[in-house]
Amino acid sequence: MKQLLSLKINGELHEVWTSTHKTLLEVLREDLQLTGTKHGCELGECGACTVLIEGEPVLACLILPVEVQESDIQTIEGLAESGSSTAELKPHPLQTAFAEQGASQCGYCSPGMLMTAKAFLDKNSKSDSKKPIDRQEIRNALSGNLCRCTGYSKIIEAVEQVVEEIQNGAVHA
């Protein structure tokens, strides 16, 4: 059965005529060509399809779009814009840090990892807060996202880099 869905993704409104039982992951990738969101299992086990719904990291493979019609959905394609402090589109500081630290090798887990990291930063890192962020907290936050290339260390260091940048006022996230 098909249905007309209205989805707010990265600030844009999309109307999609699609099968009701398709997952958000499938609708993003197949109906909307938002292929930045990846899949590694489609069973909620690997974290590759992580997107943000109302700022919360969720697995797009376990969500039906009908459930999130009223919500703000953010995917990797919308990350750059959200991190931009000027009119010019800039990469999100996390994206810059990932590139600089070598946090992506094959890069397949990166979109999901970045969205999870963004949710973590938004919750835990404020420029007015000097509360140190423990490496263990970052490890906890990322533990639902598998990576097979890096051994996680560069990913963790990239997140730490941004935490520091936010705290010393170098960037805003």
Binding site: T35, E42, T96, G102, C106, G107, R148
Partner: protein, 820 residues
């Protein structure tokens, strides 16, 4: 132009790019989610394909009825093995795979039919409409059963023992391959020894678990040509396999390797799904995509072989090894894959770390009705390396020596030959050992008796590319083409395949270095059989060394042309000119430099269109005996690891606190990427040391692992197949050692596989140091340690590991004289 010669090498220490750190060329594309992997391709009118897979481990196919499936709305085409019957396989000696099984299935998950439909859901639903009649055959699920001779197979298959033979071409029964080599005289060597040890080790199979599931898209153009986009590490070999199976000249086929979302050896064979999408695209005239489910990736496998090892070693009181004898049984699974090479690799590289006076190596790979094993990071080497390094730890204790000291006393010297005729050009293991033990405080701290704390040492060595290609020929292993645009843009074409390790960055960095320009002016075009010269692919840790040397060979003649043209215009002898930072100027710094772009235009005016090719063929090395083809390499990397663990002496639960890992890289090309490879190798090694297992149900009872038939994968999901998460991975202190090897580009060696090797034995040795339990088996689980602790409490040895070894007669070993 042409062949790379080692003596041409640049010796200057003031590199602009080499040894520095720069971002992967596509680092930002990956961080933005813009990298287009195979499953991200959507072509107009594209169809989706699915394969029906066997629910039986071993069965004859009596009939396949597609009638009902073809009638389903949305189904466009269907295929069985009869439509693509030509067998294929990665190695010329084991062409034993079929795109879809024709006569019989050999494992649960073997595909028998394929459907192309307007969407994935329809294709999947149509699989249910296919009616397959099977006649069940006896299944072979263990090394032990696989070793049975045909007459013994009667026990398994009383009526027709041949029914229990998985492949008729096996060496005998289900023994796919047997090897027996002896270098020197091991009996005499054992007689000279002061200490002898005879032990059993087992290494469980595990799989690559790439984040990206395999995916392919094929298109059949109006010009009759087939294009395949596929997540593969080896587009060249896929190209060859497609030509064979589709019965088309390679000129009519284009293979493009899309960015690979994790390979680790798991995307190195030509695969069934790659052939099926091409065939379906040809039948339908429409693009066809197939993406494997995660469960299907577990069936596709080609991962680490389970290996059961018997090792006998003799050592003198000074620690020198007088003789070493390995006898290995490999559980190969249902197909050949790289298995013959894997079998040899379980014996080839034990000799390159420490001199071994006499060496005997026997191995058998058996076919079993399980997913085929193949090359996973380290290919055939981690299993015997684990055994050897644990064995040395035991010998060190026998001799009252520090494990570091035992190894340091006996290292293969530079420019030496091993007992099995391998050439060691440079060996940085000594420096690795010094640095890693110093950084970790190994020698002092391992003797401190804090309860449950332990430190362990392990070493390893790996090859920087195989000396011989998979199909033997005299052509180069890697080719690079360069063209220069009038605006100074340099495009580099190479068949090499970036699987995330950063080989494109290496290619660009080397060309930038040679031409004296900024990296941003180098455009890299790789892994497209229409556009790029052949490179054999991303396997056997060959890419940096081989494409690196080919890139140097291609860049130097262009540099000469540019300098020659500039010399003419500037009226300064070419040998007094150099290019750096995008400018051509005098070596002595005098005069005003001119821009690279001007010099390029002068060169084009003088020589015509600028272009160049370069290639690399490894030196011919190795012995003259049968089997000497596996093991030779231009150079070998070396690694040493110290692991620190905390183990609960009651439960055996343990955590790894830290790893110190030193790696002899020869010369880092891009330091950041090298460190990434070392850390990634440490992670993958640790994950398999602690938890990873590709295991199958052995019987039909619930006690053999849940519901389903024997031969069914127990845990084909990312939740149940355990791997380390960010919470489990300890800190890794990476130390790079540079030996400046004469064979590598600027002195480089490999980094992709070697750093994994010392991890597993370092963990086993650390556990022993912590709680006195010897786990002679991988993975090293808390359950096994607990068993050892119980054993210790009963006053026994506390050793956990295999206790039985099949008694089977190996063929008489081929005797080879060690080099003089």
């Amino acid at each position: 132009m042409g062949q790379y010669m080692p003596e041409e090498k640049k010796t200057a220490n003031d590199f602009e790019w080499i040894g520095k750190s720069w971002d992967q060329l596509d680092a930002m594309a990956k961080a933005k989610g813009e990298t287009c992997y195979a499953d991200d391709l959507f072509l107009p009118r594209m169809l989706y394909a699915k394969m029906l897979r066997s629910p039986h481990p071993h069965a004859r196919i009596k009939n396949i009825d597609l009638t009902k499936a073809l009638k389903r709305r949305g189904v466009i085409a269907a295929l069985t093995g009869r439509d693509v019957p030509i067998p294929f396989g990665i190695l010329p000696v084991s062409q034993d795979e079929e795109a879809l099984c024709v006569e019989k299935v050999r494992m649960i998950g073997d595909p028998v039919a394929a459907i192309a439909a307007i969407d994935e859901e329809t294709a999947e639903a149509a699989l249910e409409d296919i009616v397959v009649e099977y006649e069940l055959l006896p299944s072979i699920l263990s090394i032990e059963d696989g070793l049975k001779q045909l007459e013994e197979l009667e026990l398994v298959a009383p009526d027709v023992p041949a029914d229990a033979q998985i492949h008729a071409y096996a060496d005998s029964g289900n023994i796919h391959k047997q090897v027996a080599l002896e270098f020197g005289d091991t009996d005499a060597g054992f007689a000279e020894a002061d200490h002898l040890r005879e032990e059993l080790y087992y290494y469980e199979g595990n799989t690559h678990l790439p984040m990206e599931q395999h995916a392919s898209v094929a298109q059949h153009g109006a010009d009759g040509r087939v294009t395949l986009w596929s997540s593969t590490q080896t587009p060249h070999y896929v190209h060859r396999a497609l030509a064979k199976v589709l019965e088309m000249p390679t000129s009519q086929i284009r293979v493009i390797a899309t960015p690979v979302g994790g390979g680790f050896g798991g995307k190195t064979d030509p695969f069934q799904h790659e052939i099926v999408v091409c065939k379906l695209a040809m039948m339908t005239g429409r693009p066809v995509k197939m993406t494997l489910t995660r469960e299907e990736v577990f069936y596709t496998h080609r991962g680490r072989h389970p290996v059961l090892m018997w090792v006998k070693a003799g050592i003198k009181s000074d620690g020198s090894i007088t003789a070493l004898h390995f006898r290995n049984f490999l559980d190969g699974g249902a197909y050949g894959s790289y298995g013959v090479a894997s079998t040899f690799y379980t014996g080839a590289l034990q000799t390159v770390t420490y001199p071994i006076a006499n060496y005997k190596f026997e191995a058998m790979r058996v076919f079993t009705n399980k997913a085929p094993c193949g090359p996973k990071r380290g290919h055939g080497t981690p299993q015997p390396r684990f055994a050897l390094e644990v064995l040395l730890d035991k010998f060190a204790e026998d001799l009252g020596l520090d494990p570091t000291e035992l190894r340091l006393r006996h290292l293969m010297p530079d420019n030496s030959l091993t007992v099995n005729h391998l050439t060691v050009t440079t060996n940085g293991l000594g420096e690795c050992l010094h640095k890693v033990t110093e950084a970790s405080g190994f020698q002092q701290r391992r003797n401190e008796s804090s309860p449950g704390k332990g430190l362990g040492l392990g070493c390893g060595s790996y090859l920087s590319g195989a000396g011989l290609p998979i199909y033997w020929n005299k052509m180069p292993h890697s080719g690079v083409q360069i063209k220069i645009d009038r605006g100074g843009g340099v495009t580099v074409f190479c068949g090499s395949t970036d699987i995330g390790q950063g080989s494109n960055s290496v290619l660009a960095g080397i060309v930038a270095e040679e031409l004296g320009i900024h990296l941003k002016h180098v455009i890299v075009v790789t892994s497209d059989t229409d556009l790029t010269p052949v490179d054999l692919g991303s396997y056997s840790s060959r890419v940096t060394l081989m494409t690196g040397n080919a890139a140097i060979a291609a860049a130097r003649p262009l540099r000469e042309q540019i300098l020659s043209a500039a010399s003419e215009v500037l009226k300064i002898p070419a040998e007094e000119l150099t290019i750096s930072n995008g400018k051509v100027g005098q070596l002595n710094g005098s005069g005003e430099p001119v821009s690279f772009v001007d010099a390029v235009q002068w060169a084009e005016a003088k020589f015509g269109t600028l272009g160049s090719v370069g290639s690399y063929t490894p030196p011919r090395r190795g012995g003259k005996f049968k089997g000497a083809g596996v093991g030779p390499s231009p150079n070998y990397s070396y690694s040493a690891c110290v692991a620190e663990v905390t183990c609960d002496p009651e439960s055996g639960l343990y955590r790894v606190d830290k790893l110190w890992l030193a790696h002899d890289i020869g010369q880092a090309i891009n330091e950041k990427l090298v460190i990434g490879q070392v850390e990634g190798g440490a992670y993958m090694g640790l994950s398999e040391a602690m938890m990873e297992e590709q295991v199958y149900r052995t019987g039909n009872s619930a006690s053999s692992g849940g519901s389903g038939p024997a031969g069914l994968h127990k845990i084909p999901s990312m939740l149940d197949y355990k791997s380390l998460t960010s919470l489990d991975m300890p800190e890794v202190e990476t130390i790079l050692v540079e030996t400046n090897d004469p064979e590598g580009p600027y002195g480089a060696k490999e980094a992709g596989q070697g750093p994994l090797l010392p991890i597993m034995p370092a963990i086993a040795n650390a556990i022993y140091n912590a709680v006195g339990v010897r786990v002679d088996e991988v993975p090293i689980t808390a359950e096994k340690i607990f068993q050892g602790l119980q054993d210790l409490k009963k006053g026994k040895s506390g050793r956990v590991g295999p206790k039985k070894f099949p008694s089977i007669t190996f063929p008489e070993a081929l005797r080879v004289e060690p080099p003089q």
